[in-house]
């Protein structure tokens, strides 16, 4: 078996701009040339070609690959037989391969060459190709490579000692046909690059030089615990669906650079610190109330439940997440640290009241519309009765009440509070506003329009009486809101309806009173008493009591179920009645309706019967049961809209018994006709879960911490995690500090110039969650106790920072600017250019500095400009390999070799050891030990990731959108861990010296608990990845069974056999199939039963089309064999209700059964083809250029070398480094 040839397509693409690529492939490679037979090759070759080869081709090939057909875009009548100078070498190489494999001519051909004729053809092709390869190799050389984005970032980072992702600001790099972004041919340097290089370098050097005194960091520590904030300045950040922590339960301290409490030096500073305390709040937005608890020691966070990837929940982070919300009190750039003081936590088992969202929201209430649903039996144990007597409505019910003006008497002084209380001024049903009060002196006077305003009275102790008449056309209820300082009573028609005797300051809406009005005149009297201090009152008519018609349907409930009707609601705000429903007057404004209900202790589910709304109206509901709160957004279906109503299960609560105030409303309130409270039986899953949570023993698993930073947005946050994950093993009661380091510029922080004062603008969020991710709400996971969060930015552990000292070293020459600058340059330039620099070069930059110096007041700024120039030099930006760096034997210089090695194995510049060896001329002799050292260095992770990502196209996984409704368990954390699995798998195979074959057929894979649970593999605990043995039947060992590939090559809902097949062929077998021809017809959806067909069946239909079959037969089977993995990479036996059929016959005639069969075929039947593909990709990555037919002999030699050295990935890296192409020119 031969190794695969470098493919035809690659060759075509290597020298073509991307736009030309398609055209080049779609037309014949030489279509631009006149359609005549090409001139025969030179000399004897040409003679052999014309005399013997072409006639054979004409006889056996031209029918399909000639002027008439040109299948696969190949025309043998036009191929240039001069393989060295012509452009068709790769086509010939491909043709040879197919001849060797006897894949051409195809079985259905009319004529087949004899064995001698085949031999003649193959001999001619082989010898001509070999000859051409020799000639091409002489011209071949690595093309000058610009640093790609990642290399640029890492190079600047190493050079300046800064952790900024510099490359982010550069335009994206292209990729070569083989998929690599370090390819010299495709890396261009546009003017946009050049401008960016200057800007980046200038900003980077400013940052590295860090001139000036040590900056005062923004350093805030927030301690948590019930009641720790009492008596301290604190605030909460509101906004839609916020879950702010009560300021009583945290305390914000402003610290100095050394972590000591900053004591304000004066009142101005005290005010400033208080301002900060109000701008640093704590939120748990996006967190369910039953997943965190404020306890005396801090905040307990249960294992985070990942959010579904459905907006807007997808923007709120996993639940629970605890974060500081800092508004415009943080710097824009620099390193920062987030310190988390935490330990293992405990389950909060006390039976406390709570209100939670439902795991699987199913309404327990059923409403049947009269006339529409009458034929249906009433379900759910809830019967329905039609409202009777709807025909007799008294028109007066719709008339509003007539309100008389407010009259006021007093304030009347009293000697003591007791006297003020005991003196009764009013007891008559009707008030005579013309007569004096009972004291005989005090007279009523008109008070004006004082509703809804706080009235203040200038008196220390006394009484004020307020009164008005209300004419009601019919009997009805009215709602009055009052506030008072200190006590108040209300009478209606002489009947006392409120007696509130509390010592308090006045505020609006302290009490709500429902008042029953009679038809005709009613007298309302309001007495307010003051003991001492301020004296004030407040009152407001909330609802004017027009008749509240009942709904045209009624929810009649069995015993125990409480049905609360809208017309029973009081305290209405921004609501109006409309046929039995309360609807928001001003939809976006907050609404409120109160309902009082007596409920026995226990678990209750609350369902809301409300008008249906179009989905784009974004209606929502806020449910408050005393201090418990839940917000949610009902989702209405088209059926609901047609029906006009919907029953939305709001949530469930555990409530202690007693009379409860239930409030409905919030902004964008959907309105309602009924609120139904249904007791949940003990066997209800939710009850079991909540009960179980209260009783679970302390888990043996460990919680973990993951930190994130981002920007508060309207619907959530734009966040990114940073600095990995920490397992928390500190025992309860012995918390320790876990530190997370990051760089502000690398994360999605708010824009500096928010330019407005909206309450949500300019908010930086910095927080954590318990990264022991759980899959279901009933799993609390191991609890985590967080005692405090501390944010510090910019973080400078030492001053001046090492980056400044590295640029401006100590020197006796410091007094002499020019001499010192020369020293600075002599130190900097060799590092920047990755080679020794000559005197003349230093001189050039020194001259530049001299030129710049007068323009700058500060010496360092002129040096900065000089270094900016160096960082824009091609010597920095390109991996330069000059002609004079090659010796007579064709070997590249040691400096060049060191650079090649460093960018191959670290994607970064050489370190001091490599550079020193190169200077000493010893690198070549110590190559093996250096490669081992480099592979064992953590920096080799950059190689593993860059190579793996581009070879295996992990970008496709990143880019895929999996349908969250179809696969709710596929969260972003599963996606992230799938990529992680592949990176760590390749890294493990490399570092542990495992055979190449392991990549295909391993008996382990790399998992953490999160991914293992997704795959359905038990027994993996915690956040750390580790090799986990997997049974062969699980399908998991090896690249073919990894989610990164399987999910990345789906369409989001179904697997995509074609994408998978192309990947297998291109990446694992090293034979990219031809791209589809232009105007390829779509699969025909008019075929009967198309919707129900699996893609495999559709493919078969497709392949019945002869124009498609030619190509598809060559790769489809590889994808069909993987049909037993679904769109998210899980083993599946059924698809579209039918058993999965993953049996197929591969192009070479081998029948295989499913993924296991394909893996066995690849690993055991054609292992050389897979290994050759790995080597070819590795070789291309190492050299920074794609391969072509001229590399074949080198690749063959490489394969032999690797085989002789244990056939491991590690050996492959060594062999590539030892290859002539890598070590020599």
């Amino acid at each position: 078996m031969h190794a695969p040839r470098a493919s035809l397509l690659r060759r075509l693409c290597t020298f073509a701009a991307p736009a030309l690529l398609v055209a080049g492939v779609l037309s014949s490679p030489s279509a631009q040339e006149p359609a005549s037979a090409p001139s025969a090759g030179p000399g004897q070759d040409g003679d052999v070609y014309a005399a013997s080869v072409r006639p054979l081709l004409q006889r056996y090939c031209f029918d399909c690959h000639g002027a008439e057909n040109a299948k696969a875009g190949v025309r043998f009548d036009q191929l240039d037989p001069d393989m060295a100078r012509g452009g068709d070498g790769d086509v010939w190489a491909e043709a040879l391969e197919l001849l060797e494999w006897e894949e051409m001519p195809p079985d259905k051909a009319e004529r087949f060459p004899s064995e001698e004729e085949r031999e003649l053809l193959m001999d001619w092709m082989r010898s001509t190709l070999a000859d051409a390869a020799t000639r091409r190799a002489a011209e071949r050389r690595t093309v000058l490579r610009r640093l790609n984005r990642e290399q640029y970032s890492r190079t600047l980072q190493e050079l300046l000692g800064l952790g900024i992702d510099f490359g982010r600001r550069l335009p994206a790099d292209g990729t070569s046909h083989m998929g690599f972004s370090n390819n010299g041919e495709v890396l261009r340097a546009s003017t946009l690059h050049l401008e960016s290089y200057q800007d980046i370098a200038r900003a980077a050097l400013d940052e590295a030089m860090a001139l000036g005194p040590r900056p005062q960091p923004a350093r805030y520590r927030v301690e948590f615990g019930s009641g720790v904030g009492v008596g301290h300045v604190g605030a909460r950040t509101g906004g839609y669906q916020s879950v702010p922590l009560n300021p009583d339960d945290f305390r914000v301290d402003v610290l100095d650079v050394d972590g000591r409490l900053r004591e304000p030096s004066d009142d101005a500073q005290r005010a400033e610190f208080d301002r900060i305390r109000r701008k640093v709040t704590v939120g748990l937005r996006g967190s369910s109330q039953d997943r965190f608890h404020v306890v005396p020691e801090g905040v307990v966070l249960y294992g985070a439940l990942p959010h579904r990837e459905v907006a807007p929940g997808a923007w709120q982070g996993p639940s629970p997440n605890l974060k500081l919300e800092m508004q415009r009190v943080f710097p824009q750039e620099g390193d920062f640290v987030l310190r988390v003081r935490a330990s293992k936590g405990y389950l909060v088992s006390e039976r406390k009241e709570l209100l939670v969202a439902l795991d699987e929201p199913v309404p327990l209430t059923r409403v049947v519309l009269p006339g529409v649903d009458a034929a249906q039996p009433g379900g759910g144990g809830v019967a329905v009765a039609q409202e009777e007597g709807t025909g007799s409505v008294d028109p007066r019910d719709y008339e509003p009440t007539a309100l008389g003006p407010w009259f006021l008497a007093g304030p009347i002084p009293a000697k003591t509070g007791g006297e003020a209380r005991s003196t009764i001024y009013v007891d008559a049903p009707y008030v005579d506003f013309d007569a004096p009060l009972r004291d005989g002196e005090t007279r009523w006077r008109l008070a004006g329009d004082i509703d809804g305003q706080v009235q203040r009275y200038e008196m220390d102790r006394g009484v004020v009486i307020l009164a008005r008449t209300i004419h009601a056309p019919s009997a009805r209820t009215m709602e009055i809101a009052v506030g008072s300082d200190d006590a108040c009573w209300i009478w209606v028609n002489g009947r006392n309806v409120l007696a509130r005797d509390v010592q308090r300051g006045v505020a609006p809406d302290q009490d709500f009173v429902s008042v029953d009005l009679e038809a005709g005149r009613n007298d309302l009297v309001f007495k307010v008493v003051n003991d001492q201090g301020g004296f004030a009152s407040y009152h407001r008519l909330v609802h004017d009591g027009t008749r509240r018609e009942p709904a045209p349907y009624e929810v009649a409930a069995p015993a125990g179920v409480r049905v609360l009707r809208a017309d029973q609601a009081t305290g209405l705000e921004n609501l109006r009645f409309d046929t039995g429903r309360l609807l928001a007057e001003d939809f976006p404004a907050p609404s409120r309706a109160r309902l009082a209900v007596e409920l026995p202790a226990g678990y209750w589910q609350f369902d809301l019967v409300h008008p249906a709304m179009a989905p784009d109206a974004m209606g929502s509901v806020r449910l408050d049961i005393d201090s418990l709160r839940l917000d949610l957004r009902p989702e209405c279906t088209q059926e609901d809209v047609a029906r006009g109503l919907r029953v939305t299960p709001l949530g469930a609560a555990y409530l202690n018994g007693g009379r409860r105030n239930v409030t409905l409303g919030g902004p964008f309130f959907v309105g309602f006709s009924h609120l139904v409270a249904t007791p949940l039986p003990g066997a209800h899953p939710l009850v079991e879960r909540l009960e179980a949570q209260a009783e679970t023993e302390q888990s043996v698993e460990l919680p973990a911490l993951r930190a994130f930073l981002g920007t508060r947005t309207d619907d959530g946050m734009d966040y990114a995690t940073f600095d990995g994950v920490r397992t928390v093993d500190a025992p309860l009661g012995d918390a320790r500090v876990y530190e997370f380091f990051g760089r502000l510029e690398n994360l999605p922080i708010p824009e500096p110039d928010s330019g407005d004062t909206e309450i949500l603008s300019g908010i930086l969020v910095a927080g954590i969650w318990n990264d022991h991710l759980v899959k279901a709400r009933d799993d609390a996971g191991p609890p985590l106790l967080v005692e405090s969060l501390e944010f510090e930015a910019p973080y400078h552990p030492v001053w001046p920072p090492a980056s400044r000292v590295a640029l401006f070293h100590d020197s006796p020459l410091r007094g002499d600017e020019e001499a010192y600058t020369r020293e600075v340059l002599e130190r900097f330039l060799p590092r920047a250019f990755r080679r020794p620099v000559e005197e003349a070069e230093v001189e050039r930059y020194l001259a530049y500095w001299r030129l710049a110096r007068p323009g700058y007041a500060q010496y360092e700024h002129a040096v900065r400009e000089t270094l900016v120039a160096a960082l824009c030099s091609p010597s920095f930006l390109f991996l330069v390999e000059p002609l004079d760096a090659v010796d007579v034997e064709g070997r590249v210089s040691e400096d060049v070799l060191a650079t090649r090695l460093a960018y191959f194995l670290w994607n970064a510049p050489p370190d001091a050891e490599l550079a020193a060896l190169a200077r000493a001329g010893r690198l070549r002799t110590e190559l093996v030990s250096q490669v081992d050292r480099m592979l064992d260095d953590p920096r080799s992770e950059a190689f593993v990731r860059a190579f793996t990502r581009e070879w295996l196209r992990l970008d496709r996984l990143e880019g895929i959108t999996i349908d969250p409704r179809r696969f709710p368990a596929f969260t972003r954390f599963v996606k992230r861990d799938m990529a992680e699995e592949t990176y760590r798998f390749v890294g493990h195979v490399l570092r542990e010296g495992l055979p190449l074959r392991t990549l295909l057929a391993a008996d382990f894979t790399m998992l953490n608990q999160n991914l293992a649970e997704f795959y359905g593999i038990d027994g993996v605990q915690g956040v750390a990845f580790r090799p986990v043995p997997v049974a062969r039947e699980s399908g998991r060992g090896g690249l073919l069974g990894q989610g990164s590939f399987l999910a990345g090559h789906s369409d989001g809902t179904e697997p995509h056999p074609i994408k998978r097949a192309v990947w297998v062929k291109e990446k694992l077998l090293g034979q990219p199939p031809m791209p589809p021809p232009p105007n390829v017809p779509d699969l025909d959806p008019t075929v009967p039963g198309f919707e129900q067909m699996t893609l495999k069946e559709r493919l078969e239909q497709h392949r019945d089309n002869p124009s498609c079959f030619e190509c598809h037969a060559g790769f489809d089977p590889y994808g069909i064999a993987l049909e037993d993995f679904d769109a998210v990479g899980r083993r599946t036996a059924m698809r579209k209700g039918r058993p999965v059929d993953a049996s197929t016959v591969l192009p070479d005639g081998t029948p295989v059964e499913g993924a296991d069969g394909l893996r066995a075929y690849l690993a055991d039947t054609v292992p050389e083809r897979f290994q050759a593909s790995v080597l070819e990709h590795l070789y291309a990555y190492a050299l920074g250029r794609d391969t072509d037919f001229a590399d074949q002999s080198a690749l063959d030699a490489l394969a032999d070398a690797v085989a002789a050295d244990g056939d491991t990935l590690r050996a492959a890296v060594h062999a590539v480094v030892r290859s002539s192409a890598f070590r020599d020119r």
């Binding site: 010299g184 946009l192 050049l194 907006a311 001003d586 947005t713 309207d714 949500l760 120039a869 002609l883």
Partner: protein, 453 residues
């Protein structure tokens, strides 16, 4: 303000509250000296209103009057009362219906505003916006003008992700801060000395030139030491350096090119967005016209107000149409009379926009009315409340750039579940009309049908 006795064309004197501009033709003043024989400058303005538009359903009694989109189709369309103020310009504009960004359709409409000019993907957990089309244009055209672009709004700054107060996003998808104080805008862009920034700019340019000189010298030295293939590769780099040098030379020339004289006595800097929004808006439009006249820039965005009841624009309906509720509130409302609030409010916006078109038509440069060489995109990123589909979209001007005008085109993908066509096709068309051949803009598959005549 200074007034010079140039040989002026009276037609360009403007009346009313507008600018009396003294720049009939660019070359008439002999400044910049680059337009007489050159092709007409191409310009693009982007004007955005928030919260969608009035669109009563067909069964609604208000359908005939208060529907933003016109009646009819093609050249045979008729404005409803909403866009009626634009009747004088009906041959100079095209209305497009049935357009939206595919990636925004499932988003809350207010969030779609972040992506109006970017087509960015804001669906995922990470906010990934893209470069906005105006900034792509600015990047290509900046060397021709004093400033790459103007970024304007009612509130200034950038707002915050998901509720921005700017329409423009840079190459990394980060919001470009907008300006809203008109005096500041004037002083920054039109003050006689360039706002005192000339020296700083001169220094920056000088630094850039020195760096480029050195890069050039280094590359030339290196070239001698390279093999043929590498030398070929380095040529690309050298070519880019040459281009950069060219750009720097142009930048330097601008430094010594005095700002053209103009008369700004008609400009009203005291217009307050809080108390007189129409006047504020018209003043902003005046500044934009002035920017085009003086060729200070050729690309501008102006976010008239912010989404979702944020910012000062929320207060305008009271002053505009005497309705005492916010714009966002109106957009959410469903009570019977609310189309009589939303429709007239949209009409009020259209009246102000008509003022801009009038100014562009009245103001001439060497090639004719500015309106002919200026495309103005006017619209919003949702139609009905929070529905990020069927964007209200109007393109005015641009006759000399080959735009197809004088019709209402309803785009539709027949037989598709999602009939809307990608809005990026409009942005792509505008890029092409500007003569910029980018490889497609976002998810556009070429300009939308009927974009060009």
């Amino acid at each position: 303000m200074a007034r010079k006795s140039w040989h002026l064309d009276r037609r360009t004197f403007l009346r009313g509250m507008g600018v009396a501009c003294m720049l009939p033709y660019l070359e008439g003043m002999g400044w910049a000296g680059q337009t007489r024989r050159a092709a007409a400058p191409r310009r693009a303005l982007f004007v955005y209103f928030p919260n969608g538009c009035s669109l009563p359903s067909e069964n609604d009694a208000k359908y005939r009057h208060w529907r933003w989109f016109p009646d009819g189709e093609g050249a045979d369309f008729r404005f409803t009362r909403v866009l009626e103020p634009l009747e004088p310009f009906r041959d100079d504009l095209a209305v497009h219906g049935g357009l939206s960004h595919p990636l925004s359709r499932e988003l809350l409409g207010h969030l779609a505003g972040d992506a109006w000019l970017t087509a960015g993907d804001l669906r995922g957990g990470l906010y990934q916006n893209r470069e906005s089309v105006d900034q792509v244009m600015a990047r290509h055209l900046k060397s021709h003008t004093r400033y790459p672009s103007f970024v304007l709004s009612a509130d200034g700054g950038v707002g915050y992700k998901s509720r921005v107060s700017t329409l423009s996003f840079d190459g990394q998808g980060r919001p470009v801060p907008s300006m809203h104080r008109q005096r500041d805008i004037f002083e920054r862009y039109f003050a006689p000395s360039g706002g005192g920034t000339t020296e700083a700019r001169r220094k920056a340019i000088l630094e850039g030139r020195k760096v480029v000189d050195l890069m050039h010298a280094e590359a030339k030295d290196l070239e001698k030491r390279l093999g043929a293939n590498d030398r070929h590769k380095l040529e690309e780099f050298l070519a880019s350096i040459d281009e950069l040098e060219e750009q720097i030379r142009r930048d330097e020339k601008w430094l010594d090119t005095p700002m053209p004289e103009f008369d700004a006595s008609g400009l009203a800097f005291d217009a307050s967005a809080a108390t007189d929004p129409a006047r504020f808006m018209r003043s902003m439009y005046d500044l934009m016209v002035l920017g085009l006249q003086t060729d200070a820039t050729r690309v501008m965005t102006y976010m008239l107000a912010r989404e979702d009841g944020l910012g000062i624009g929320e207060q305008w309906p009271r002053m505009a149409v005497g309705v005492n509720r916010g714009h966002h509130t109106i957009s959410h409302d469903a009570h019977e009379g609310h189309w009589d609030q939303w429709g007239p409010y949209d009409r009020w916006y259209a009246e102000q926009f008509a003022y801009l078109l009038k100014r562009l038509r009245e103001t001439h440069d060497a090639h004719g009315p500015l309106l002919d060489s200026t495309m103005v995109l006017y619209g919003s990123a949702c139609s009905t409340t929070h529905n990020a589909r069927n964007y209200p979209t109007l393109l005015a001007g641009g006759r000399s750039m080959g735009l197809r005008l004088g019709e209402y085109r309803r785009h539709r993908r027949e037989g598709e579940k999602e009939p809307d066509v990608a809005f990026a096709g409009v942005l792509q068309g505008m890029l092409q009309a500007m003569g910029i051949e980018e490889q497609g803009f976002a998810d556009a598959e070429g300009p939308v049908d009927g974009f060009f005549a």
